[in-house]
Amino acid sequence: MGDSSPFYRPLTKENLKQIDQTGRRILERIGVRIADSAFRDILKAAGAKVDSDNQRVRFEEGWLDEVLGRAPSCFTLYSRDGKNDIHLGEGNVYFGNGGRVFRILDMSTGGYRLTLLRDVANTAALVDKLDNIRFYIIACQAHDIKPANYHLLDFYYALNHTTKHVMGGCDDLHGAEQMWKLASIIARGEERLREKPFVSVITNPISPLTIDSETLEILRFCVTHGIPTTCAPAPIAGATAPATLAGTLSQMHAEALAGVTIAQVFAPGAKVLYGAVATTMDLRKMEFTMGSVEMGMMNAAAVQLAKLYNLPIYASGGVTEAKRPDIQAGFEKSVSSLTVAMTGADFIHLTAGVIDSGNSISYEQYVIDNEIIGMTQRVLQGIKVNEDTLAYDVIEQVGPGGNFVAEEHTINHMMDEFFYPNLQVRCNFDIWEEMGHPDMLSRANELVGKILEESEEGLLDVDLIDDIKKAFSGSQYI
């Protein structure tokens, strides 16, 4: 990647510096609120300034830089089969889906329903088969399972249906422990999991400037067990952050750096991504928005902020407010994905499957987004210019009035130069009529049916499943 630089840079060097400095000032003077005194004590012992009366932890500049310096600038989020390893910090842009929604647009009934465990399996199977979606985030809540084995089951169903890297949120420390134990069995050993982690965990501070104790417990557990994480702030401009984009960015930057810093206190060298889920509020009626153009711009700016510290970024993009895969979904997602991708974000989540401002998913949207991402990736590849691609010789050979269709040069380059979509209608009008006027949704629905039919069987070995059953009691869903 990178032939088409310079990429989109929403912030000038001077603006970038101003936002960074404001973020650092927030950390040094205002600080973050951590209610749990045990965690405050740990941070104090590590060198943070702690004001226990106000539950504040402040980060002085010198100390902040010293601790941030321990964070790795590149690391890998592994896939289980080695085919989709995510190499962060090396200039690549990877796209993935987004998670923990509660509702699905179910095309088999045409209506919306609550999401179930089988939706985790199905979305994992879709991501597994869709080439441009490179990692899987546990896509939805499973309303049909109880809290006791929740994260055993949602991670199990995900890992049983895709070999791509699986990332998810954990509700509590117990859930994180279950997830780790499960992944260790599948890795056939804790050390092997630590060496090549194929699962990672998303945690979030609460904007503005608050980190919950349970979040810190999960974060600490993960980083001390070699599980990559992000502590990704999700400020809403105009609601939980200032109405100015620069203000929201400054606050989010402080929150994101706090997350990375605390992770490095827990485990120096911990694999942690700078997190960014900057969103906006439509203040006309207080409607939460994730498909706004400003969300794309802020997540693009966040890439610049993360790169100031050489940190890989977990950015967000490609969401929509639309309730169905429709025209609005198409353009909101395209603009957003492209805006963030063109800054060179390492890892962009939410770009597949999510509709309804992050509340719903649609299987069809997964396969449609796979196409949008494909086009976006083509933009990032840029235009390759060299002696061969300039094609003087073949232009001379064909000469005026000829054509290039059957030239060897054409055959040599036709696979690399063009993005070939699967679903976009490109046939001529007559053929389109003969085919019964297919549209994006009908074609997407067909492809979903095909993929899910082929993916009914799980991917995990039978003996692994036996080991998992033995390790966990009451896991009747496995």
Partner: protein, 212 residues
């Protein structure tokens, strides 16, 4: 094992140099011209056509194979006996009077040439009398007319009328195409066939000549 396996593979891959060398080798070894054609070249093109219709290869690869076959044919042609069929049929193609557009017409000509038809391309802005004169001269099996503009479409009808007046309408099949042209219009002006794109022009032409 097919004695022309190497030739077949070279044609499938569109490797002109190897295919021509293999053809020469087969001739030198005393193989019959007819069996080189049938078991080597045509067998290869059948496979290529099959792979294309299954979506396994792209148009340029198919055309490249066709071009390879044509190069091999140059060696065989002088050796053919009377009665050996070497072309699928003769096609005369042109954009009608008043119309200077030629991309669609060129694509059709290219695809038909690739499929083994013998193409004579008259170019653009061809008046009815020129079509008539060339039909008499070339004696094609099919005449293809193209128009991009709704304003030049009537030239198609006038060309057919001119063919009737000259008494040659029955001697050829007429196929038309172009963005504004429809199946319905083809029926109205009594053309024999209409093709909506370059790919279907080939299958329509084969249909017209009964060589499916």
């Amino acid at each position: 094992m097919n004695e022309f396996e190497a030739l077949e593979e070279a044609v499938s891959k569109g490797d002109i140099k190897t295919a021509v060398a293999e053809t020469q080798r087969a001739l030198d070894a005393g193989s019959e011209v007819k069996s080189i054609l049938d078991k080597g070249l045509i067998a290869a093109m059948d496979k290529v056509g099959d792979r294309y219709s299954k979506g396994l290869i792209f148009v340029p690869q198919m055309l490249r194979s066709a071009k390879t076959m044509q190069e091999c044919m140059k060696l065989l042609q002088p050796l053919f006996q009377e009665g050996d069929v070497t072309s699928k049929g003769k096609v005369l193609i042109g954009t009608v009077k008043g119309d200077l557009h030629d991309i669609g017409k060129n694509l059709v000509g290219m695809m038909m040439g690739g499929a083994g038809f013998d193409i004579t391309d008259l170019g653009v802005d061809i008046p009815p009398e020129k079509f008539v004169q060339k039909i008499q001269e070339v004696e094609p099996d099919i005449v293809c007319m193209s128009a991009l503009l709704s304003t030049t479409m009537p030239s198609m009808s006038r060309t057919i009328e001119a063919m009737q007046k000259a008494g040659i309408r029955d001697k050829v099949k007429v196929m038309i195409g172009g963005a504004p042209v429809t199946e319905k219009y083809a029926r109205e002006i009594k053309a024999d066939s209409y093709a909506s794109d370059a790919g279907s022009a080939v299958s329509k032409a084969k249909e017209l000549l009964g060589i499916l």
